[in-house]
Structure formats: C-alpha cells, structure tokens
C-alpha cells in the first residue's frame, strides 16, 4: 500500500467530515426556520480494492444528504389545516352574528317586540290618550328600526365574506405559481445532482399554507414534481403548470362572486363555486367564507324575514279591521304590507304605515257611532303577543320563535367554536409530531459538531503522519 493511498484516505475523510460539518452547520442555523426539515449526512465506506492480497476500503464517502420527512404526517397536517381554516373563518363571522342577537348585553329585538305589545296594552286602558297613541307609534318605529338594523348587519357579514374572497384567491394563485416554479427547479436540480432538500422543504411549507386556504391533496411524481389537486379531484398544479382562480360577480346571487378555475396549462374556465370549498363547504378558509355567505347567514335572514312578515300580517289584519278616532280611519295597515317574505325585514320592507296618532285603530267599531273609548281592537292586537301562530318552527308565539332563532344562533356559534378549538388542538399535536420527526434539536447538532470536528482532527492527523512518513522515505536516500 503506497503512502499516497494513505494520504488519499485522509483526504476523503477530510472532505466527508467537512461536508458533514457543513450540513450540521446548515441545521444549526436553520433551527428556527419554519418548515425546515433537518438533514443528516449518510457516510459510507468508499469501494474496496485489493491491497497486497487483502481487500481494503479506500476511505469514506458521502452517500447522501438525507432529509427527515414524513409524507404521512404531511397529508394529515394538510387535512387538519383545511378543517381548521374553515372553522376559524366561520367562527369569526358567527361571533359577529351572535352580537346582533345578544340579548344579554343589550336590549335587542326581543325587548323591542315586548315593548311594542306593551304599548298596545297601555292603550287599552286609555284608548283616546294622545301619549299612549304616540307611544304605540314610537315603539312600532323602534321595532322596525331593530329589524332593519339586524338585517343590514347580517347582509354586511355576507358582503365582508364576499370581499375576503378577493384576497384569498390572489393568495392562492400566488402560492400555486410558486409551487409550479419550485416543481420545475426541483426537477432540474435532481436530474443533475442529489435531492434538492431546501426546495422540497419550501414546497412542503407552501403546500401546508395552501391547505389552510383550500382543501387539497397531492401526488408526487417519480421525477420529483408534485401534482396538486382539490379534494374533489380538479387539478391545481400539474408539473410546471399552475391553475388560476378568478372571481366573477353572479347576478343570480345578489352580485356575489362565483369562483372560476382555469385548469393548468390553459383551457376553458370552470365554475368552481360548488366544489372548491370541499363537500358541504367544510374545507379551507374559502369553504368557510362560502358557507357563511351562502348558507348560514341566509338561514338566519330568512327566519328574521318570517318573524317580521308574520308579525306584520297578524297586526295588519286586526288593525285594518279596526277604527281610529274618526270614522274614516279604518282599513289602514299598521305596518307596510309584506309583498314577499324574503327580504321583508330589511330597509325596503317592513315600515310603519301610519303617521297620525288618530289613525291608531284601538276601536273595533265606528267610534263616531259607538264611542271613542272602544278599546276592543287594541285588546286583540295586544293579545297577538301571546297568540300561537303557525310558523316554520311549529305552533309558537312570536316571542317563542324569536327565542328559538337566538338559540339557533347560539348553537351555531357553539359548534363553530368547538370545531375550531378541536382542530386547533389536533393541529398542534400533529405539528409537535412533525417537529419531533423533522425538527432540529440543538443538543443533537452540537453533539454532532463535536463528533465531526474530532473526526476531522483525526483525519488531519492521518495526513500529518502520512506526510512525515513521506519525508522519512525521501530522506532515506541522500
């Protein structure tokens, strides 16, 4: 065995340990980088040769720089992220809705309804009294104002959700483009040399961030590129091509956006609103926004409309049959008659139809004939509050219907809050597991640092010895 091969062996050791040190250095400096997976240097013996009849290895070489990556965890995290994103978005919207129906902190629609019927009760005791009549009109106006306020705030929640789609769609488009670019780069690098660890980390991080916005699944191709698609199957990224999302106002849905998906590589845009949020709009922040905008708030609005129109129809029916203080003040509706139930609780719908206090129909027969002290109609209208009416919740009173609406909002908020905190908990757990599998432990890296440093010293010593031996040999012959 020549001295040169000794020096050669030392050299391979120096190179290998130096590389290992660099990898350890990379790990240490990236201990706080989001989405970084630690890399390990795999060393193996260099090929053996026959030296004087004995097979002997020729040093050490770096087999690979391996990245700790758990594909199964990645899939799980992505799935949970989608649920979390949806829960977070719908919970924050529902908190806003809850404030509108919170009878505990302010006097809301429920108290307003009570006060309206209380004013009719006061009228029964003094039907000709001007202050009592004025009170009926004012309470009616307050009730109407409350309906309008809740209706317009609910519509605000819807349009805010709609607006948030703009930001989300542009974020998603951005991310898809980045993933496609990374796909190409990874493929090019891996064709020439080893695995592109940092880029794969970056791509995985992008995938996890994307999964919070929209529910996705991915498949890795043999050439290192990743194909991303929606959970319902439509492609978002194929190789180096990314799909593009766009928004189009839909006149059939009050001008709210429809989401269009242009497939990767071009092609006709498809209306993705029905499936982009996952089944039943349960995935991703987009799913949450669409669920709130198109389903949840609409349910509450339609119940509000039903309450308003049932109230108005009942009161109007009795009121128009009654008489005010003059013979001519009959046949008048107290509230604007509902043309349709949908949207009745809003600005263009319910309103107080009477301006003069003498038109408030407290009497059930012509007062100029039978006396203006007639309070029978006021009595019947006051009793509407306790009357069981056939509504969509069954035979309930107006107050019972409103209470059940508040209860529904409460249940919705409770469920959304629970879903969010539950998926948050699971997500934290999964992230911990990912951290445990792929995270950098400073203690471990520092120990490795010492290990490779000592090996480097050892290899340097070997070269030293080899060089001294060479000196000795050269000086053998003067």
């Amino acid at each position: 065995m020549s001295i040169n091969s000794l020096l050669e062996t030392g050299r391979t050791a120096l190179n290998a340990q130096k590389l290992a040190l660099e990898v350890t250095g990379e790990n240490i400096t990236n201990v706080n980088t989001t989405g970084y997976s630690r890399q390990t240097t795999i060393l193996e013996t260099a090929p053996t040769t026959l030296e004087r009849g004995f097979p002997l290895g020729s040093g050490v070489k770096v087999a690979a720089v391996q990245r700790s990556y758990d594909g199964f965890l990645q899939t799980q995290i992505m799935g949970q992220n989608a649920t979390y994103g949806q829960g977070k978005t719908s919970n924050s919207a529902l908190q806003r809705v809850q404030q509108l129906f919170n009878e505990f902190t302010t006097d809301g629609l429920g108290v307003s309804l009570q006060n309206f019927f209380k004013s009719w009760q006061d009228l029964t005791v003094n039907p000709q009294g001007a202050p009592e009549r004025q009170a009926v009109l004012s309470q009616g106006q307050q009730l109407v104002d409350n309906f309008h306020r809740i209706n317009s705030n609910l519509n605000d929640v819807k349009s805010d959700m709609n607006k948030s789609l703009e930001g989300q769609v542009s974020d998603i488009n951005d991310t898809l483009n980045q993933i496609a670019t990374l796909n190409l780069q990874i493929k090019q690098i891996e064709v020439q040399s080893g695995p592109a660890n940092e880029m794969r980390d970056k791509r995985d991080l992008l995938l996890r961030q994307l999964s919070q916005k929209v529910g996705i699944s991915f498949v890795e191709q043999p050439d290192g590129m990743v194909d991303v698609s929606l959970t319902s199957g439509q492609s978002l990224v194929v190789g180096k091509d990314a799909a593009a999302l766009s928004l189009l106002p839909n006149a059939a849905n009050s001008g709210f956006y429809d989401i269009l998906l242009t497939p990767p590589g071009g092609g006709p845009a498809v209306n993705a609103t029905a499936f982009i949020g996952g089944p039943g709009n349960t995935q991703g922040e987009i799913g949450g926004a669409l669920l709130v905008r198109d389903t949840m708030v609409n349910n509450y609005l339609s119940e509000l409309d039903e309450l308003a129109s049932t109230l108005a129809s009942e009161v109007n029916g009795l009121h128009s049959a009654g008489y005010g203080l003059t013979a001519a003040s009959t046949g008048l509706d107290f509230f604007t008659p509902p043309a349709a139930v949908a949207g009745y609780s809003g600005q263009g719908g319910i309103g107080v139809n009477i301006a003069a206090i003498s038109d408030v129909a407290a009497a059930d027969a012509d007062p100029t004939v039978n006396g203006t002290g007639n309070n029978k109609n006021a009595q019947s209208i006051a009793s509407v509050y306790d009357k069981f009416l056939a509504m969509s919740a069954g035979n309930v009173t107006l107050e019972g219907f409103y209470d059940s609406l508040v209860g529904k909002v409460g249940v919705g908020v409770q469920n959304a809050g629970r879903a969010e905190s539950q998926s948050d908990g699971i997500l934290k757990q999964l992230n911990n597991m990912r951290e445990s599998a792929s995270g950098v432990s400073l203690d471990e890296e520092l120990a490795n640092l010492i290990k490779y440093q000592k090996a480097y010293e050892g290899a340097a010593k070997l070269i030293n010895v080899g060089s001294e031996m060479l000196d000795t040999v050269i000086n053998l012959v003067k």
């Binding site: 809850q98 003094n126 006051a382 209470d403 529904k408 409460g410 908020v413 951290e435 445990s436 400073l442």
Partner: protein, 298 residues
C-alpha cells in the same frame, strides 16, 4: 420521541395560553356576575332565560294595568258612595213629606232640595277621571248624562288584561246604575224618574204619590249598593291578582338568578387557582429554557 427546542418552546407557549384563556373567562364571569354573557355560551339555557325575561316583562305590564284599573274602580266606588248618600237624604225628605203635616212652604223647600239632589245624582253620574267620564262606556269623552238625566253613553265593558288571557271590566254602565237599564227602567229602578215623580207629587200636594215612591227609593238604594259591591268585588280581585303577580315576579327572579347568576365563591376560588397555576407554569418554563449544551461546550 425526539424533543427539540421548538417543541419545548411551543409547549411552553401553549400551556401559558391555555391558562390565560381560562383566567380571562373567569374574570369575565366575575365582573358581569353572569355565567352566560352570549347565546353561544349555553344555547339551551339562553332560550329559557329569554322566555323567563319575557314573562317578567309581561308581569310588569299586568301590574301597570292593575294599577290603572284600580284607580278607575276606586273612582267609581266613591261616586256610588256619594249617590248612596244622596238617596238616603232623598228618602228622609220623602218620609217627612209623606204625611199631611206639612204646609206649602215646607213642600216648596222639599221640592227645591229634591231638584238639587237630582242634579247631584247627575253630576255624580258624570264623574271624570283624567278627562274620561267613567260611567259613559265607550262614549266617555262627553258627559253621559244630560241635564234632564237621560243617558247618552254606551254600556260596553272596558276590559283590561290583568293576567294572560284574563280580562276584567273596569267600568260600570251608567245607565244600569242610574236609569235602571236602556230604555230607562227596563232592568232596574230609574232613579231620575223617582226624583221627577217626587217633585211632581209634592207640587200636586199628593202625599199618597209620595208614599208610593218610598219603596222605589228603597230599591234604588239597593241598586246602588249592589253596584258598589260589584265594583268592590272587582277591586278585591285586582288586589288578589296584584299579589299573585308580585309573588310570580319573585319566583321568576329567583329562577332566573339560579340559571344565570354566578356563584362568586366558586369563581373567585377558581380564579386564584388559575393564577397559582400561571405562576407555576411561568417559573417552570423559565427553568426549562435556561440550560442547553452550549453552556457546557468550551
């Protein structure tokens, strides 16, 4: 399982946040005094609470109605008492005039007084409360009795709701009280007619006619008495309702408080537990984060 720096840091942060969240919840409860501050906290109890609140509000309204009704009935009662006094005086005069020991002067004096008494009955029949004539039925913005004692009001009941679905009339028909029904005298004694008859009899000097009115005066007085006891019975009913209302309000308040109010002892003790836990967690985290391998490498 590998534990990295990030794992420890995340764990620390997480635990501190959980404790802070519980603390905040407890602080909210202790400052508002209510377990439930939003429908989402407890949807089932929310509905119950709202229903109880509406029952309480209804009770308040019934109390108002009862107060208003009581003042109307009290007024009616005092007017009827006045009428009773008038009728007693009229009877005295009639008894005095029913024998032949009176001369023309005393008869004239009696006639004058009887006419004044008749006007008194009419004035009492036109008693007002807050500008409303209480014996006029639905036509209560004009005096129900005209100068001759004819009734121009209606005999409708003015009902008020004193409990859910329970109505009580708070007026008494003037014609039934004074005129004995409509047409006059059809269902009782026409008091005005009695006075008219007495005056006519005295002017004609007929003591037998005066004597004939004596039993009518008796039945007139019992008519007014009957009306008074009817009104009195209604007032008792209102009283009873008012008491029931008050008791109901008390019970509702108690039930509401049971469901909604916070047990301060529990909250304060939980709060101090959380504060202790927080301090312990912070101290432990500080200890964990301090020592690494770096400290021991030269």
């Amino acid at each position: 399982m590998r534990v990295t720096q990030n794992t420890t840091a995340n764990l620390v942060l997480n635990n501190l946040q959980v404790i802070r969240e519980r603390q905040e919840q407890l602080q909210q409860q202790s400052s508002t005094g209510a377990k439930i501050s939003a429908p989402g906290d407890d949807p089932v109890n929310t509905q119950q609470i709202l229903h109880l609140k509406s029952l309480t509000a209804a009770g308040e309204q019934y109390a108002r109605n009862i107060t208003n009704g009581t003042s109307l009935l009290t007024m009616a009662d005092s007017a009827m008492a006045g009428m009773g006094d008038v009728l007693s005086r009229a009877k005295e005069i009639a008894v005095a005039m029913s024998n032949d020991t009176n001369n023309a002067n005393s008869r004239t004096a009696a006639v004058n007084e009887l006419q004044q008494l008749k006007n008194q009955i009419i004035t009492l029949g036109n008693t007002q409360l807050n500008g409303k004539y209480i014996f006029g039925g639905f036509k209560n913005d004009t005096p129900p009795f005209d100068a001759a004692g004819n009734f121009t009001g209606t005999n409708d009941d003015i009902n008020i709701e004193i409990e859910r679905g329970t109505f009580l009339p708070v007026n008494y028909a003037g014609d039934k009280l004074v005129n004995g029904g409509t047409p006059a005298g059809s269902s009782g004694t026409d008091i005005i007619k009695i006075f008219d008859n007495l005056v006519t009899a005295l002017n004609a000097g007929s003591t037998s006619a005066v004597q004939a009115e004596l039993p009518n005066l008796d039945s007139a007085m019992s008519q007014v008495l009957a009306a008074r006891s009817d009104v009195g019975a209604r007032m008792n009913r209102l009283d009873g309702s008012s008491q029931v209302n008050d008791n109901t309000k008390l019970s509702l308040t108690k039930i509401l408080s049971n469901i909604q109010d916070v047990d301060y002892m529990q909250v304060i003790s939980d709060l101090s537990k959380q504060q202790t836990a927080y301090q312990a967690a912070i101290a432990a985290s500080a200890k964990i984060s301090q020592v690494t391998l770096l400290d021991y490498l030269r």
